[in-house]
Symmetry: C2
C-alpha cells in the first residue's frame, strides 16, 4: 500500500495535539511525518507511534521537501501566508482556520456530507468551524429526505473551542482567578459572545455557522439564523437546533434516518434519561443526536439537540477524515 | 397607612429566604410577619428588620390568626393542601409552586405584564415558573406593539432554579463529588433535561414555559416551542429567544420600546461588549435584554437574549410585587 508524507502545522496547540493523536488512532498510511510550529514552540519534543520527533520551525522552505498532506491548525495569519506556499509545492493543505472557508476556489468539507468536494481542490481544503461541523453531520440526512427550509441554531460552546487559553480561563476561573482570554469570567457564567461582533449585531461565529452550513450543504436557499454562546464546559459543544422542513415527515422514520446516517449516534430515550451531553460526547469522534421531537408551532417543524467533541469531530478528526478521503482517491 | 399581616411559608428554603430579604428591601407596610415551614425546619431562628423570629410549623390551624397575604414557596404537595385552607380563612396565597398555575380559577401574574389579574383572585394567585417570568417581561411590550406569532425558546438555566440541592450539586461537583440532585454531573456539563419528560418528548419545564406564556399574555393563539437546558451557573437564567411578529418593526423603535418598558434594563452595546450575563444579573430585580437583532430568515423576525436572577425576579421578587399589587388595591 502506498504511503504518504504528512505534516502537522501548529503541532503544539490544542487542535494540533489532537491531530497527532487522531492520526495515530486511525492508523493512516504514513511514510514520513513532520511536526511544525512557530519559532516560539519549535524544538518541542513530540511522541508519535512510539518515536520521538522534534517540532521544526515553520519556514518558507518547509515545503521544499515532498509533503503530500499538511494539516494546518496554526491560526489565520499563518495559514494565509503558508498555505499557498505549501500548495504551490504540490502539497494539499487541510486548514482549520477560517481564512479559506468561504473562498469559492476552496472546498469546505465534512466527509459525512460532501466528501466529493475534495476532488476539485486546488491545493487547499478548508476544515469548517467546530460548531458547523457537528450541525451539518446531523442535518444532512434530514435535508436529503425532507428538504430543510429554515434553521435556528442556539449553541452552548465549550471553552476548548477557544484553544488552550480558553481552557485555562475556565480552569483558573474556577479557582477565582481573573479571565485572560474571554471578556468576562466564564466560570459560573454564560457569555453570548464568540468571536467579534459585526455591524449587524451578529458575531462572526454566528455568521460562520450560517454561511458554512450553506456552503457544505450546497444550498444557498437555506434560511439560517444563529445565537452562539460560550458556556463553562471544558470540552464538547452542544446545539439546540430548530428546523422547518419543506416536506412532511414521520418522526419514527426520521429517527431511523439519523440512526443509519454516517458519523451519528442517536441518544434519544428520555424515559431513561438518555440524551447527548458534553461529558459523554467528549473524547468521541461521532456526533450525538437526541431530544428529537416534533415542533408543532410550524408545519413540518422539528427540535433536536446535537453534541460533539469540538476538538475531535469539530476540528482534528474532521481534518484527518478529509486526509483519508484524499488518500482513498490517490490510492485508487 | 394601613399595615398588613404577612406570612412566608417555606421560609427556610432558597426562595423563602429571598422572599424575606425582598420584603425587607422593598419595605412593605407590614403589621405582623410570620415565618412557617415544615416540621423539619420549624424552630429555626430568622432575622427580619432587626428582630428575631422563630419559624413555626405549618399546621392546619396556622391561618386561624388573621393573615392578609401568605407567600408560599413550600413545594407542590404543601401548596395543594394548605393554600385552600389559608384562602378559606380570608388570606390571599401567592404560591410559587406549579400546582395552581394552569387552574382557570387562579390568576397567574407577572406585575409588569398582567397586574390587573390580581382583581379576580379567589384567595390563590400563582407565581409563574422562573423561566417564564423573565421571558414575558421582555416579550409583553413587543407583543403589544407588533403582535407575536411564534416564539422559539432555548434556555440556559442556573442550578439555583433547582433549589438548595441543585446549588450544592454544582458546588460539590466542582470538587469532584457525585451529583445528588441532578441525573448527571452538572459541573463542566450541560443537561438538556429540566423537570420530568412527558410522552411527547418535551419536559414539563418546556411545557410550563409554553403554557404559562400564553396564560400570562392572555393569548392562546401564540405558537411557542421550547428547549430548556441546565447549565453550570449558580444563579441567573439566560434565554435565547427567537420571535416572529405579525407586524413589521423598526429595530431602533423596538429597542426604545424595551428601554421604556417596566422592569427591563436594555444592555445592548456589542461594540463595547455590553450584553446581559448571569454574573451581572444575579442579585438584581430587573430583567436584562440584549443581543437585539433582526432575524432575516423570516418576515418580521427577531433574536433577543434575556437574563434575570431566577431566585429574585423568577420567584421571590415577583411574588412580593404581586403582594404590592394587592396592597395597592386594598389601600385605595
Amino acid at each position: 500500500m502506498k504511503k504518504y508524507n504528512i505534516a502537522v502545522v501548529g503541532a503544539t496547540g490544542m487542535v494540533g495535539n489532537m491531530m497527532r493523536q487522531v492520526l495515530e488512532e486511525r492508523n493512516l498510511p504514513i511514510e514520513n511525518i513532520y511536526f511544525m510550529s512557530s519559532f516560539r514552540s519549535a524544538g518541542t519534543k513530540i511522541k508519535f507511534m512510539g518515536s520521538e520527533y522534534i517540532v521544526e520551525e515553520l519556514l518558507e522552505n518547509s515545503f521544499d521537501k515532498p509533503i503530500d498532506i499538511a494539516l494546518f491548525s496554526a491560526g489565520g495569519g499563518t495559514s494565509a501566508k503558508f498555505s499557498p506556499i505549501a500548495a504551490s509545492k504540490g502539497c494539499v493543505v487541510i486548514d482549520n482556520s477560517s481564512t479559506w472557508r468561504m473562498d469559492a476556489k476552496v472546498p469546505l468539507i465534512v466527509p459525512e456530507v460532501n466528501p466529493e468536494d475534495v476532488e476539485w481542490n486546488n491545493g487547499i481544503i478548508a476544515n469548517p468551524n467546530c460548531s458547523t461541523t457537528q450541525a451539518v453531520v446531523a442535518l444532512k440526512p434530514l435535508h436529503d429526505a425532507y428538504k430543510i427550509k429554515r434553521i435556528i441554531y442556539t449553541t452552548f460552546q465549550a471553552v476548548s473551542g477557544a484553544g488552550m487559553s480558553g481552557y485555562k480561563d475556565l480552569e483558573n476561573g474556577l479557582k477565582g482567578e481573573e479571565p485572560q482570554k474571554f471578556s468576562y469570567p466564564i466560570a459560573g457564567n454564560v457569555i453570548p459572545h464568540i468571536d467579534v461582533f459585526e455591524e449587524s449585531g451578529y458575531t462572526k461565529e454566528e455568521i460562520k455557522l450560517v454561511n458554512e452550513t450553506k456552503k457544505i450543504m450546497h444550498d444557498d436557499s437555506l434560511r439560517i439564523t444563529a445565537t452562539t454562546v460560550r458556556v463553562p464546559v471544558f470540552n464538547g459543544h452542544s446545539e439546540s437546533i430548530n428546523i422547518e422542513f419543506e416536506k412532511s415527515y414521520d418522526i419514527a422514520e426520521l429517527k431511523k434516518l439519523l440512526q443509519n446516517a454516517p458519523g451519528i449516534i442517536v441518544q434519544d430515550d428520555p424515559a431513561n434519561n438518555v440524551y447527548p451531553m458534553p461529558i459523554t460526547a467528549s473524547g468521541k469522534d461521532e456526533t450525538f443526536v437526541g431530544r428529537i421531537r416534533r415542533d408543532d408551532t410550524v408545519e413540518n417543524g422539528l427540535n433536536i439537540w446535537v453534541v460533539a467533541d469540538n476538538i475531535r469531530k469539530g476540528a482534528a478528526t474532521n481534518a484527518v477524515q478529509i486526509a483519508e478521503e484524499l488518500i482513498k482517491r490517490w490510492s485508487k
